[in-house]
């Protein structure tokens, strides 16, 4: 009897430890893609069809095939961008995750094909300056609702691809360039060198609650059923 209790307790401890290990470490899904740079009007209303702001498509990110089966905890992004100096604090543009192939971000947000994150790219985020700079945010928490929305958006694409947009309700003069030309003067004459730019989206994730439950409950259930069968066999 004592050995049975010890076995059960030990098994539960192992399962709990496994759960904690998964919950604490998580996975970091990382995807790097070439920047797209398409800019559209954003925050459109019937009174202001041109919108008060703009949204620039940063890129289309590829994740693992089972990426929709995870709960997302945190996100961060690295991108090349030019922001106006006023884009700080509440006016800093934020990241929107959207379904692949989104053309109208206002519409996508309305119908649930896009979700706004609390991840902002601020002008004063190092390095700041009046030019095209490469910025990387810190990891920012993702809420449960946002996580579910990201997983749902991923599920809509067979390759679990999602788009990231940089959206601002206040500014139109934001540029997320796909590439840039630099002008060099050689022997008094101008020459152009073109550089393609890329961006990286990192998502920190854990297996979704259902998977965690399977990890914990399934072995215990199997063990309990086994014990019950043994007890019945003994009684017979």
């Amino acid at each position: 009897m004592l050995s049975q209790v010890l076995k059960t307790t030990g098994f539960a401890l192992i399962a709990f430890a496994m759960l904690l290990t998964h919950a604490n470490a998580g996975f970091i899904f990382s995807s790097t893609t070439n920047q797209v740079g398409t800019k559209i009007d954003f925050n459109k209303t019937p009174q202001n069809p041109a919108g008060s702001g703009s949204a620039s498509k940063i890129g289309l990110y590829d994740f693992r095939n089972d990426a929709d089966a995870y709960a997302y905890l945190k996100a961060r992004i690295r991108l090349w961008v030019q922001l106006p100096p006023e884009a700080v604090g509440d006016k800093a543009p934020y990241i929107v995750i959207a379904k692949a192939g989104t053309l109208d971000l206002d519409l996508a947000l309305t119908v649930g094909d896009a979700v706004r994150l609390d991840l902002r790219v601020s002008y004063d985020l190092f390095p700041s300056g009046p030019g095209v700079v490469e910025k990387q945010t810190d990891f920012e928490n993702i809420t449960e609702d946002q996580s579910l929305a990201i997983a749902a958006i991923m599920e809509q694409d067979p390759e679990r691809r999602i788009e990231a947009w940089l959206a601002s309700e206040d500014f139109k003069d934001i540029t997320v360039p796909a590439s840039f030309d630099s002008l060099q003067i050689v022997n008094g004459r101008p020459q152009i060198v073109t550089t393609t730019l890329n961006s990286t989206l990192d998502l920190e994730a854990v297996p979704e609650p259902a998977s965690i439950a399977c990890f914990l409950i399934a072995p215990i259930t199997i063990y309990s059923l086994n014990r019950r069968r043994q007890r019945l066999a003994k009684s017979i």
Partner: protein, 225 residues
């Protein structure tokens, strides 16, 4: 015979004047480049971005006007953005109100709307002729250079337009380049009129003499009588 001689003198004077004009005129090319400043001035009437100041300590000399120019700027998402030149260190709108900055006539548009591009206006200097500057603007820009020995350049778009002009790209400076073709000739209407005055005077004088000589000759009737 005398009338023909007068007419010949008049034509000769016109030909001489026209021949003399190009030999007086001189042409010069000045060019300069610099890192873009990219300071933004947004008002209800325009959105202006300061490119920077070029041609420091360049003197006006014998030249009178900017005849044509090339511009090369680093810019993103631009459509028909105007390039202004003049004296406007204190701000674009203030300078425009004081008639100190002038539209060069050049318009900058990017080829694609998703990249930060180096745009050549009107095209690659090795392949395309420079764009002519309207004569009043060309005179005013050169006067500004002669007076201040420098020129400020601004890119100007509609209010709320989303074009961006970088000062840096990564760790590299984003530069702009301007080349002016300037000349001493001022083929404005007034000058052309002045050129025509002596010639017209000579023609009129010849005509008057011809009429006078006609009146002095006896008619056929007079001769019959």
């Amino acid at each position: 015979m005398k009338i023909t001689k007068q007419l010949l003198i008049a034509f000769a004077s016109i030909v001489c004047l026209l021949q003399a004009t190009p030999t007086i005129a001189k042409a010069d090319i000045i060019s300069d480049f610099k890192q873009q400043n990219a300071a933004v001035e947004s008002t209800a009437t325009s959105r202006a971005i300061y490119l920077g100041r070029l041609f420091n300590n360049v003197e006006g000399g014998a030249f009178r006007r900017m005849e044509a120019m090339y511009a090369i700027v680093t810019i993103a998402q631009a459509t028909n953005v105007a390039l202004f030149a003049g004296n406007a260190a204190s701000g674009f709108e203030a300078a425009r109100a004081a008639n100190q900055i002038f539209d060069t006539g050049l318009r900058v548009s990017t080829v694609s709307q998703n990249a930060t591009e180096v745009v050549f206006v009107p095209g690659d200097p090795a392949q395309v002729a420079p764009q002519a500057i309207p004569i009043p603007a060309g005179l005013a820009i050169h006067d500004s250079l002669a007076l201040n020995r420098r020129l400020d350049f601004w890119l100007v778009g509609l209010p709320g337009s989303g074009f961006t002009v970088p000062s840096t790209i990564g760790s590299n400076p984003a530069s702009f380049f301007i080349e002016f073709h300037r000349t001493t000739s001022v083929p404005e209407p007034t000058t052309l009129a002045l050129l025509c005055v002596p010639a017209t005077g000579a023609i009129l004088a010849a005509r008057r003499r011809r009429k006078a000589s006609k009146n002095a000759l006896p008619s056929d009737q007079d001769l019959r009588n």
